[in-house]
Symmetry: C2
Subunit: 357 residues, 2 copies
Amino acid sequence: MFTTNRVQAAPVKVCRERLRGRRAMAVVINSGSANACTGRQGMADAKRMARLAAVALGVPEAAVFPCSTGTIGKPLPMDRIARGVPQAAAALSEEGGEAAARAIMTTDTAPKQAAVEVRIDGRPVRIGGMAKGAGMIEPNMATLLAFLTTDATVEPRALRTCLRGAVGESFNRISVDGDTSTNDTVLFLANGLAGNRALSPAHREWKPFCAAVREVSRLLAMKIVDDGEGATKFVVVTVKGARTGPDARRAARAVARSLLVKTSWYGGDPNWGRVIAAVGYSGAAVEAERIEIRFNGKLAVQGGRKAPRFALKELERILKQRAFSITIDLHLGRGTDTVYTCDCSEEYVRINSAYLT
Amino acid sequence: MFTTNRVQAAPVKVCRERLRGRRAMAVVINSGSANACTGRQGMADAKRMARLAAVALGVPEAAVFPCSTGTIGKPLPMDRIARGVPQAAAALSEEGGEAAARAIMTTDTAPKQAAVEVRIDGRPVRIGGMAKGAGMIEPNMATLLAFLTTDATVEPRALRTCLRGAVGESFNRISVDGDTSTNDTVLFLANGLAGNRALSPAHREWKPFCAAVREVSRLLAMKIVDDGEGATKFVVVTVKGARTGPDARRAARAVARSLLVKTSWYGGDPNWGRVIAAVGYSGAAVEAERIEIRFNGKLAVQGGRKAPRFALKELERILKQRAFSITIDLHLGRGTDTVYTCDCSEEYVRINSAYLT
């Protein structure tokens, strides 16, 4: 799955093309340059990077998927890549996951990995993943590269269905700064080594398999938000009682994106007024005098105004925590949605004003 | 004209109602509490504030328009308002404009006024205005209170048409942080003292009159952006060559709202990659390899990639200025639009994380 940005990096275009072949055997990833807005040279470079990996690994070139993350408009340093790819291939090892997860970081402060094991046809099947995030993070998707692998045997089409469902509930539900990148890519590779019967929706253990994929995706997505650029808080925004599901989504995203809401969280302030204002301009149907807001379940707003027993001290204590939830009930219907996000700190501004072209 | 937020402050509701009468004789404004999300008490308070002014001035209550700006959810301090309104009424003077413009400030650092004089029917006609802005500033409209007055005689319906046009080119074209407030209000009052023939589109000097109103609105809108919370740069974002006008608008707004773009301006970085990314996710039709970007007319991006003669030093010099322009040509059609905005600094975060409930 790829970014919805209409400006797409060269490696995204190459991956899209190669997906048609449906056979992926390797990924080759660089951080530092996004290889986006680099014209024909960028396309040639992305393909050459993949070819270098194909040669080093002895696999078909079309089965290698190149991915890049970093500054837009900066050409790939092809001399370093030409030297580095064979070295990286020579260093491949079963213990290399951590090093790979670390190598793809940009402004991330920690590598992000997750793994789950389930039994399919009585055999252990593993799903593992790594991701990088930090900035330009917004649903559909995020500056996000994520790589999932499994040793299960899965039909290619079923694999895609399973991934789409998992991404919808994880990477498409996180927001750091509202900017959608040119490079977002989530790849899911299956090698069949577990020896199970091929998984598809017809398999009786399809559901537990998909649940495990969702879990790995969710864990990685949470790690991305938790390590958002400059983030000091992890916040779960849930909207319920919306007239429709899409309305709930609009409202939750508006709250998660609002700079004024995010800076109030940074200040540890239970500022519900900014939350209501964001819901109000989200485009969702709203009746102001029905809105109810809770922080970690503690009532702050009822009937669209400060709750009669508004416990400022207790709410402040909640807002000072590293992680908390906000639940907004619009009391208009059954639509519900959740977005995972973080606050916006001076550090975010510092990082992004210093991360130069 | 009022906010498009679905959650509207009590004074906005009262003003809307009173507009039907089409007769405004006074405004009464407070800063510190927005009187939004304050329920029935808020409505009663807004009306009482207007009544106090009506009594003090000896005008009909329905001709007094109450406005509020400040923290959402905080009830008006009615005892102080009851004492203050008669005092403010007693202090009314032809020289009081500056004091009024200062009194309505919240996080604004300076009062905002503008005035223009034109001749209509051979007589001097004046249009003056004051505004407050600073945060929660986004097209349609902004946390913005703006008050325009003129001594011209203008038909009420014509006055509204004229105001709508002026707001469309001024207050609806500015963005500070992308948050739309619950209190935005622009009022325009005419008292007819200039003694001209009643202005309407049929009047041969209708156009110069409207141009003057636009100019006052534009001046006030520019002052609001220039004094955006924590702003260190004033930036004019123009998109041209879009397939349609609305596409140009979408693209210009996405650039003006992008936190990553705004922080790069703060850093004085000619980061065109983030500008392209924002255009790409704006929803506007885009062909990446046609995009052209200029800073103060200086070419930075051509054919969707770094221009062959990309003069980094010169671009950096431009980006270090207090004010500069970015022109993005999509080379797809004739749609064009402009948004006035500012950067996002650590100071913005500091102000908004400390401005407590």
